[in-house]
């Protein structure tokens, strides 16, 4: 090893130690834990078994929770795209000082503590909250229906906090767009709608897709929001793992759930990323 290489290793050593210490080690231990057995009398049994995985994959109770997690994450992603992409486009067309102030408004949800924000939503979504009362008043429901402990409620609260990621991601790809392309399309006879659909949107697509990855993985692994809005009645994978750890004290089963959640998210994200790279590398390679 020459001096330069040694210097390189020395320089990355602190970050590597930190990474190994606080991320790689706990993950490896969780993985190992998920292969241990468990009984209500002995607690954790240090054997090597796939029993936990077999239990999760065969029981429809777990399947339902994983499917719900996926469904919620997909809805959140879809709604974030529908709200975030136009929002970013509008923001980009705004003039200063409006633009700066509205960017602050957009990232506002990220600046509020998760507990305060989520309990706020609990107030709005509950049976006597503003939203059920409003829905009842305008005649959409025959009586005020609480949105607490429902998937709709969880999706609404998650969209609120995750939309900023979509806006910022789309914003970044719109910033790379040459504004003259919109004018060029206009001079060639395109209407505003055609310009948005055929010129702006395709150029924003890399941002929408990468924003989608961020929003999806954060929504699928979210804990605090589904814990407070969904509660015990509406479990998702992360709250399920939490309950197995802290209520049932079945750590190995909780670890197996956490591992499956992680593997699922990583698989979806990697596949998604491959798709983006293949689809857009020729066009948008920097």
């Amino acid at each position: 090893m020459n001096a330069q290489a040694r210097q390189g290793w020395l320089l990355v050593a602190p970050a590597t130690l930190l990474f190994v210490g606080i991320l790689a080690t706990p993950l490896a231990m969780t993985l190992l834990l998920s292969f241990n057995g468990w009984s209500s009398t002995q607690g954790i049994v240090p054997t090597l078994t796939v029993q936990n995985y077999a239990e999760i994959l065969s029981d429809s109770f777990f399947a339902e929770i994983f499917l719900r997690t996926l469904r919620i994450a997909l809805w959140v992603t879809l709604i974030c795209v529908l709200i975030g992409a136009p929002e970013a486009y509008i923001l980009r067309r705004m003039r200063e000082p409006w633009r700066s102030s509205f960017i602050l408004v957009v990232i506002g949800p990220l600046l509020v503590s998760v507990v305060a924000r989520t309990l706020g939503w609990a107030l709005l979504l509950g049976g006597n909250g503003l939203i059920p009362l409003a829905l009842h008043r305008v005649g959409l429901t025959s009586s005020p229906v609480s949105l607490m402990f429902t998937e709709t409620g969880v999706v609404i609260a998650l969209v609120h906090v995750l939309v900023p990621f979509m806006v910022l991601s789309v914003w970044a790809s719109l910033a790379r767009m040459d504004p003259a392309t919109e004018r060029a399309a206009q001079s060639l006879g395109a209407s505003q709608i055609t310009i948005f659909l055929r010129i702006v949107l395709p150029q924003a697509m890399p941002g929408i897709l990468s924003g989608g990855i961020i929003v999806f993985s954060l929504a699928a692994s979210a804990f605090a929001t589904p814990a407070i809005i969904g509660g015990r009645r509406l479990k998702v994978a992360s709250t399920l793992a939490y309950d197995e750890f802290l209520s049932t004290l079945n750590w190995p089963l909780g670890a197996a759930i956490a591992v499956l959640l992680l593997v699922g998210i990583v698989a979806i994200v990697v596949g998604w990323n491959r798709f983006i790279e293949r689809r857009y590398s020729q066009v948008f390679a920097s």
Binding site: T181, A184, Q186, S187, L188, G189, A190, M205, Q282
Partner: protein, 342 residues
């Protein structure tokens, strides 16, 4: 009435006036350049023709039809932008076809016209490429093909060659001129590059601070600049202040040309000659630089520094430090009377 008639247009942004009472008529098939330094209002004028900027007052008419109520997408103009503004997510052929699709031209006709347009700019075999995979010069040609394929009433060129290197720019100038002649499209070019304007245009509109300084053929504008600004902006020029004497106008006491009133004399460096006999402006060569096809000399005279360009045609050229006498023909100089605007 000219094909494109710009009548008394004005554009003000608050108190700042970008274009001030501009009148311009462009004939069908003509190639006209708006030339001036940055901030002179030439780009704003182009934007007003294109419809992206609304004039504060005045009218623009194309072929007798008032454009002011027409949105940019209804004007049917072809525009080549400085950045080319190609659609990066579409192939070259799709870029060129876009304007035809907007006009709901049939599929077969689109394919045929796109092929023709790409062949015209020498990119017949590049239709399947994406803009990113092409050089600056090629992107420039695609932008030109995309603008011309819709058979625009007018072609607007916004500093189209400024992003190319010097050699390519010269090639593209020739090609642009040839393509414009071939298609016969009325063309308005915006540029700050005097050489480009001189090489391409039928007529040049020299603009400064929102106003037209002079409109004329390249030769006229260069040889008979209408103002001191035009003389200094287009090419280089020497200026001397001259006083009347009984024998004529004199610079620092040396009679140079006929005239009765105090004036500023402008004379191009290539029109100044050295003489060995007779009267003239005495001076001393400060520096002499060889530039291939010509020599560039700085001569210090009692009337100020004078730039002289002499062709490298085999005749001897005075060396640095040599005493010389400068003369020029009265017909080559332009006079602006003292007291009138500088």
């Amino acid at each position: 009435m000219p094909y494109l008639a710009i009548e008394n247009i004005r554009k003000a942004y608050g108190p700042a006036v970008a274009v001030d009472h501009l009148d311009l008529g462009v004939e069908k098939g003509e190639f006209i350049s708006l030339l001036g330094p940055s901030g002179c209002g030439k780009t704003t004028t182009l934007q007003m023709i294109a419809g992206f900027v609304e004039p504060t007052q005045g009218a623009i008419a194309l072929d007798g039809i008032d454009l002011s109520q027409l949105a940019p997408e209804k004007r049917g103009l072809g525009i080549v932008f400085q950045s080319y503004a190609l659609f990066p997510h579409m192939t070259v052929a799709a870029n060129v076809a876009f304007g035809l699709e907007m006009r709901r031209v049939g599929k077969a006709e689109i394919r045929q016209r796109v092929e023709q347009a790409l062949a015209m700019v020498g990119l017949a075999d590049k239709g399947g490429r994406y803009p990113r995979q092409m050089s600056g010069g090629q992107q420039q040609r695609v932008a030109l093909a995309r603008a011309l394929v819709i058979r625009p009433a007018i072609l607007l060129l916004d500093e189209p060659l400024s992003n190319l290197d010097a050699k390519l720019r010269e090639e593209m100038q020739l090609e642009l001129r040839q393509i414009q002649r071939q298609s016969g499209t009325t063309t308005v070019l915006v540029t700050h590059d005097q050489q480009e304007a001189l090489a391409l245009s039928d007529r040049i509109v020299v603009m400064n601070q929102g106003r037209v300084e002079q409109i004329g053929s390249p030769f006229d504008v260069y040889e008979r600049p209408g103002s001191a600004f035009v003389a200094t902006f287009l090419g280089r020029t020497n200026t001397f202040s001259a006083e009347p004497t009984p024998q004529g106008l004199a610079v620092a006491g040396h009679v140079m040309m006929p005239g009765e009133r105090p004036a500023t004399i402008s004379i191009r460096p290539e029109k100044v000659d050295f003489t060995t006999e007779g009267d003239g402006l005495p001076g001393r060569v400060l520096t002499r630089v060889f530039q291939g096809n010509h020599w560039l000399l700085h001569v210090q005279t009692p009337g100020g520094l004078c730039l002289v360009i002499r062709p490298n045609d085999g005749r001897p050229v005075p060396g640095e430090g040599e005493a010389v006498v400068l003369v020029f023909r009265a017909g080559d100089a332009s006079l602006s009377l003292a007291g009138s605007s500088p």
